[in-house]
Point group: C2
Chain length 164, copies 2
């Protein structure tokens, strides 16, 4: 029915592929990766953020975020803190050097935002945003079934040996 090319996931991926390289070039020029950028972006807006929330806001999976924050911390751009109230938690904040990056990068980023928006009709752009938000809102909650069927896995293509 739906050819692969026209499937919604592929359309989403193509859109991202078309948009992100411009941003990444910028990040790279400042020694940052995209995930690292996302973390900073949040910390510029929020002073101090619980690890967990940081993962949610950046859309980075917690296990990845650990390494991302490690590297940012090592670079002196962010800092971790363990609140005595709950010693499990980790609060993350940007250091002065981390904050300084904001004015360095944000102007160029804002410019890209504008270029992007202007590259489409206002209507098209509005429809795009509406659709994206609808998707995100909609598909977040629809877990109706109590316990997932847990289909039997077949272990088809795992462990790599072909390259030997």
């Amino acid at each position: 029915m739906q050819s692969f090319d026209h499937s919604l996931p592929m359309r989403l991926y193509r859109a991202l592929n078309a948009v992100m390289p411009r941003f990444r070039a910028l990040f790279t020029a400042h020694g940052l990766t995209e995930p690292q950028w996302r973390v900073l972006r949040v910390l510029w807006e929020r002073e101090e953020v619980p690890f967990r929330e940081l993962a949610a806001l950046t859309l980075l999976p917690a296990p990845s975020l650990v390494g991302v924050v490690d590297r940012l911390q090592n670079a002196g751009l962010v800092a971790r803190r363990r609140p005595p109230s709950d010693r499990r938690q980790a609060l993350v904040r940007a250091t002065p050097r981390g904050r300084a990056l904001e004015e360095d990068v944000m102007p160029a980023v804002e410019r890209i935002y504008v270029e992007l928006r202007e590259s489409l009709d206002a209507d098209t752009y509005a429809g795009l945003v509406a659709g994206l938000d609808a998707l995100a809102a909609n598909a977040t909650a629809p877990r109706t079934s109590r316990h997932a069927p847990r289909a039997t896995a077949r272990r088809a293509a795992t462990t790599n040996t072909a390259g030997e």
Copy 2:
């Protein structure tokens, strides 16, 4: 100006995050990863595909695709071939076992496509698709500047040492 949450990239990522888990659950149940799935999906439609084209169609970077094909090949789902005409090239095709997977998985996938489309108004969905395609089409070509400015990199957050 644009808050991080409302930026186009984040909206795109959120939409994907909302949509993909359903598919991935399916792939996992059949022992496949998403990239592996994408390769098979293309090979089901195209018999034999040049490596290069496969990368373009699946949106997988060539270096990644090497490993993906390795593992699929090792699992007996695809096969490589070196045409004598041009011994640099690599042609990839699905094996019978690889082809057999199609009828196993596609029905459920089609069902998800339908659910997704029906979870939005027809108008919203149409607007979404139009916007995505416009973005992809637009941002593919607009390299107007002859040679990119090549901004001076600063090496901020590289090599990990924080976790020691």
